[in-house]
Amino acid sequence: MDLAQPATVAQHQRSTMSQPDADTRIRLYKSLLRVRNCEETLAELYREQEMRTPTHFGVGQEAVAVGVSEAMAPDDVAYSHHRCHNHYLAKGGSILGLAAELYGRLDGCSEGRGGSVHLTARDQGFIVSSAILGQTVAVAVGSALAFKMDGESRVAVTFFGEAACEEGVFYESLNYASIHALPVLFVCENNLYSTESPLDVRQPQGTDLCERTKAFKVESERIDGNDVVAVHQAAAQSLALIRDGGGPRFLECMTYRWREHVGPNFDHEVGRTYRDKAELESWMKKCPVLRAGRGLVEDGLATDTELETWDGEIKTVIAKAIADARASDWPDPKTLFDNVE
């Protein structure tokens, strides 16, 4: 795996696939801005310790969530894992629903019952995220089974980290989806770490996750997860092939988590040494948001001023949503037993 040059993978993408049109490129960028600004704002506010819920911020990995979500059809469904804010937001989950959930309020998407790792935005096709590794990989396969049984052309997408590929449930799910040629897209965000553990303690030398899935007869592709255009193209192509009955597909998106595994800090801020600042900086240079913005300007699809305007606009929206979240009511203890059975 050539982490130094993930861009080369993207090159290959571009050459083999048509560029998304201007509107799509702009939509992708605006979604990136929304997700990034939302996460950054929440992360900084998290330091006030008023959000009592262990939180895994997705800053740096937004292009995967955005690229895939924007390629999905309205009635496709998405599932996610513990690092789920990006996917929830990119699929259209409301900022208030997320912020209020972190603040433990009634306006939270799970009304203060789920917390950061248990989000839902069913109306937007974001079914759920869950905190146990690999769980929602199997669940997405089940939704795909339902779609196939009903002859619908819907696809189930499941987002997870590369550590989920260490859990047996991943292979049981892969095997099953492949046997029945189910309409499911497996989206692996390989950010090189599981908590503080690098890949080499979790995978044999020379491992290629795509090779594993191919051995289960599941077509796969490794792409640059920081290039939203490449992700969108790969996802669009994959989803089309799946919808045509081509069976499940797997995308390994190479990306990088900027902040600590759980919580708002940067690892170097708190003296963690499992990865060094230089590595972080090299990946920050590949920032998916900046990169998408530069692309728009270079291709004459937007001006720097427009980028700034959009940035300002979304920040206002976010500020309002967060204010609403903090103003939202606390759940009434009398409702403790609601929704048990």
Binding site: Q135, V137, A138, G142, S143, E172, I179, V340, E341
Partner: protein
Amino acid sequence: MRELKYSQALSEGLVQAMDRDPGIFVTGIAVDYPSGIFGSTIEANQRFGPERIFDAPAMENALTGIAIGAAAMGKRPVIVHPRNDFMFLAFDQLINLAAKWKYMYAGNAGTVPIVVRAVIGKGWGQGATHSQSLHAPLAHFPGLTVMMPAFPMDAKGLTLAALQSDGPVVILEHRALYDTLGDVPEDAEPTPVGQARVVREGTDVTIVATSFMAYESVHAADELEKKGISAELIDPRTIRPLDTATILASVRKTGRLIIADTSWEMCGFASEVAALAAEQAFESLKAPVRRICFADCPAPVSQPLEAAFYPTASTIAAAAMVMLGRDGGSMDGIDREDGFKGPY
């Protein structure tokens, strides 16, 4: 009313439910075999075919997650474990997700009405990993409905109830009961969930017994009657939710409580019912409660060890005699021999 075997009742309940609800499908190891899970899926397989009854690889954990994901999209999946012991592999999906789904997302992600059928093994030396009964751990964690049909009418009724439930349900069926006969109504009448069956009324002692032990208790009650002891026999039918009202009313009436369960004592269902009485019917109790459970060791294989491991009708009857101060002489004579020879 016509009589059916427990296995036929399971089958009829499944077929009637599938007839009404096209969203129901059945999968798991061996569900589409000609032998159809000891007969219980044969008719459904013939009636509804491979679209709705299909085999699965050995993948307990993911299959449970797959059922959850299908249920989240509006299906009513039924997955079957030929032995409930295999379900340990699925405890994460079952307890960490299915059981908590409605609650964790405050109902905003919908519900996941999956039905897990799992068979309890017993006899013919099935041994330590093929004859456990997982209802206590499953009921310990809020969110699952846990059913244990003991009689054919409830094998059908609880199957129908499970297939109308809003949330995840586990039905623990007892292999040793599959060939037992009993009255079963023809129409599709679900057994009310959370309502125990008073199998017979009595005044001297309350016997709360689950699954196969309820079957044994009927025999024990017959023998006790001959000795002039009137036992009230209660089959809880659902472990969670538990019908505490019926149990407490009976204990308040008889003042004596014996609980016979198909598993171990420690943190088991027998302890739950004993605790319930000690907490909420204490003033009515005339004697110490008595728990009748597996011997406190893994299930052995060899016949004399199996015989020592499993409590039977005579264990229950003898306990009642002692509790009522009657000569506690062995009642071994009353036990029927275990004729089970498979298929497992």
